[in-house]
């Protein structure tokens, strides 16, 4: 599935890249070999970034590469030099969380000299319930702009349609079908279906043709979920 050393998550704004990146980084630590490094390249949005899981990641032995000190909270296009280091380190698994749209993917383009094609996969995360990417046409157009800005072909599509707490198996599968159409139009494989763990069983029961990534949603506003431990940041619940 996502069997490249460097996994880049790209996609339209708000498609779920950060949540998926956190999940893959934490899940990756359980496999044999070196723990993955999570690179937060989000220069687009100021809130709800994967770096908000810093403390949790550190506890779990996953290194986070993101701006340091008070710049962690800045909305500035900061690309820290360590990014190039881990990309050039053979045997170091890397999960890269790009910012939204082509604006966010431009950063990937600037790293093309250290991203070897054979070991790098750029996956398009799609949520068909987002307003500006609600149709196959819009997703394909956005994918082409992202690909051009990143100066890299898209390796595959990850279906991630949801409505947060109002998600149903139908919503997931409806989006999954559209994601399949978009992948065919782009000439790439639909490589996985991401779904919140509480719905994984129901979705699996309906028969899905690709591997399922069951996500424990961690990036939540403070008021969400009364009894769960809150481990990070001034802002966000990462439980």
């Amino acid at each position: 599935m996502l069997n490249r050393r460097i996994v880049i998550l790209a996609g339209h704004f708000g498609s779920g890249k950060s949540e998926l990146a956190l999940h893959l980084a934490l899940a990756g630590r359980a496999t044999n070999g070196r723990a993955p490094v999570l690179v937060d390249l989000d220069i687009v949005k100021p809130y709800f970034r994967s770096r908000d899981g810093k403390q949790l990641l550190e506890q779990q032995g996953v290194r986070l590469i993101a701006p340091a000190g008070e710049n962690l909270y800045a909305d500035l296009p900061i690309i820290v030099p360590q990014v190039r280091g881990v990309c050039s380190d053979p045997g170091q698994p890397v999960i890269m969380d790009a910012g939204g749209d082509e604006t966010g993917s431009r950063v990937i383009g600037s790293l093309s000299d250290v991203l070897q094609d054979a070991e790098t996969g750029m996956y398009l995360v799609v949520n068909f319930r987002r307003p500006l990417s609600a149709t196959v046409d819009a997703v394909v157009a956005s994918a082409n702009r992202i690909s051009a800005a990143a100066r890299r072909r898209i390796t595959g599509v990850i279906s991630n349609t949801h409505l947060m707490d109002e998600t149903t198996a139908e919503i997931v599968l409806e989006g999954h079908e559209l994601a399949g159409v978009a992948a065919r139009r782009l000439g790439v494989d639909l490589v996985a279906l991401a779904v919140e763990d509480t719905l994984a069983h129901a979705v699996r029961a309906r028969g899905v043709d690709v591997p399922l990534i069951a996500i424990n949603r961690r990036i939540r506003p403070q008021f969400d979920g009364p009894k769960k431990p809150r481990t990070t940041g001034p802002l966000f619940v990462v439980a």
């Binding site: 704004f13 708000g14 949005k45 100021p46 809130y47 709800f48 909270y73 800045a74 909305d75 949520n127 319930r129 987002r130 307003p131 500006l132 609600a134 949801h162 409505l163 947060m164 707490d165 109002e166 506003p221 403070q222 008021f223 969400d224 979920g225 009364p226 009894k227 809150r230 001034p234 802002l235």
Partner: protein, 360 residues
């Protein structure tokens, strides 16, 4: 329309379009940049115009000019940008122009930080600019409510010929939640024709329409002020909005909170109720006019009141005015972009119940 997963800023932008607004003037500032970004994409699709001005001062004066034509006009900004707009806002209030302004508040003072805060309550409700004027101020607690209130704000602005301000902390702009827009949009009340709009003097029977806030004759200016005050009195009578949580039952502590921090309080209330602590909440939705009577009546059923804000204590002044010393008022506030946690609220309410709440 099927439910979409929208960021607050996108929902606010879409709401403006659904309300028939086709003109936006603004200048970017975090954490509300996605409002202009969304509208820069959407407005041309519906035949509208998006202008990124050279500053907030310019944007707010463009808003003044465009509002004078009777078109529905909109701007959004965040705290420091809203400060820059205050002069034009006073002029728009003085000229009785219907405009909608959204302030996605960040932490201050000064440039401050980009994380959520509610430090602009006093600026919003007590006159941020000069002169005797009032804005109608609405404060949503969710993305859906933000969208609904923005649509309503355009109607209210037209109805009262007055600027309407919708305020949210940074989370209202930045968080994503499911949103549904109704397909059958209708104004909340019949709206008068805009005979005042400056759309060209054709020489016929239409009187000259001059948009103006300059009245050099003191008698005329006082009459103008009296008319404005009568309008504000009408708003105070008709536009009070709030939501109550558990107000019908018995409770010892009443929480007063608005915006997303009221949702933190709701989470805390669930935990407190599970432990047998009797607590209720009132959430003002209109910050001006303030639901003083509702707050007073709700407070009188409690033995103590807790005001929770993402500020050092601003709305608490309106709670004090509403209660006139009838009940002890306690306060819990966070500043700088720090969010109150449910645990903090639970702890504070417990202390109040045990008589260790500390007085404000």
């Amino acid at each position: 329309m099927a439910k979409k997963l929208m960021k607050g800023a996108e929902a606010i932008g879409e709401a403006a379009i659904r309300a028939g607004c086709r003109l936006f003037f603004g200048y970017p500032i975090t954490p509300q940049n996605e409002i202009p970004e969304y509208l820069s994409h959407r407005l041309p699709q519906v035949g509208g115009t998006f202008v990124q001005a050279e500053s907030e001062v310019a944007a707010s004066n463009m808003l003044y000019g465009a509002a004078g034509t009777g078109e529905r006009v909109f701007t959004s900004s965040s705290s420091p940008g809203i400060s820059l707009m205050q002069e034009a806002i006073s002029y728009m209030a003085g000229s009785q122009l219907p405009v909608v302004i959204v302030n996605i508040m960040r932490a201050g003072p000064g440039l401050g930080g980009i994380l959520p805060a509610q430090g602009d309550y006093l600026q919003s409700t007590k006159g941020g600019g000069h002169g005797d004027y009032r804005l109608l101020v609405l404060a949503p607690n969710s993305v859906q409510e933000a969208a609904d209130l923005v649509i309503e704000a355009f109607d209210l602005a037209d109805y009262y010929r007055n600027p309407v301000l919708v305020v949210g902390d940074g989370l209202i702009g930045q968080m994503m939640e499911p949103v549904e827009f109704k397909d059958d949009y209708a104004p909340v009340r019949p709206l008068p024709p805009k005979t005042w709009a400056s759309t060209g003097h054709t020489g016929g029977e239409k009187p000259r329409s001059i948009i103006n806030s300059l009245f050099l004759d003191p008698e005329v200016l006082e009459k103008h002020n009296q008319a404005l005050q009568a309008k504000y009195a009408e708003m105070e009578k008709n536009e009070i909005r709030y939501e109550g949580y558990g107000l019908d039952g018995d409770y010892d502590v009443l929480i007063v909170a608005y915006g997303t921090v009221a949702r933190v309080c709701q989470t805390a209330m669930e935990e407190l109720e599970a432990d047998g602590v009797r607590v209720a909440m009132i959430r003002p939705i209109s910050l001006y006019p303030y639901p003083s009577q509702a707050v007073r009546e709700a407070a009188e059923k409690a033995s103590g009141v807790l005001v929770v804000e993402l500020s050092a204590g601003q709305m608490i002044e309106d709670v004090r005015l509403a209660l006139e010393g009838r009940r002890p008022i306690h306060f819990h506030g966070r500043t700088g972009g720090m969010l109150a946690t449910p645990e903090e609220i639970v702890d504070k309410v417990r202390r109040i119940v045990e008589g260790r709440g500390g007085k404000s």
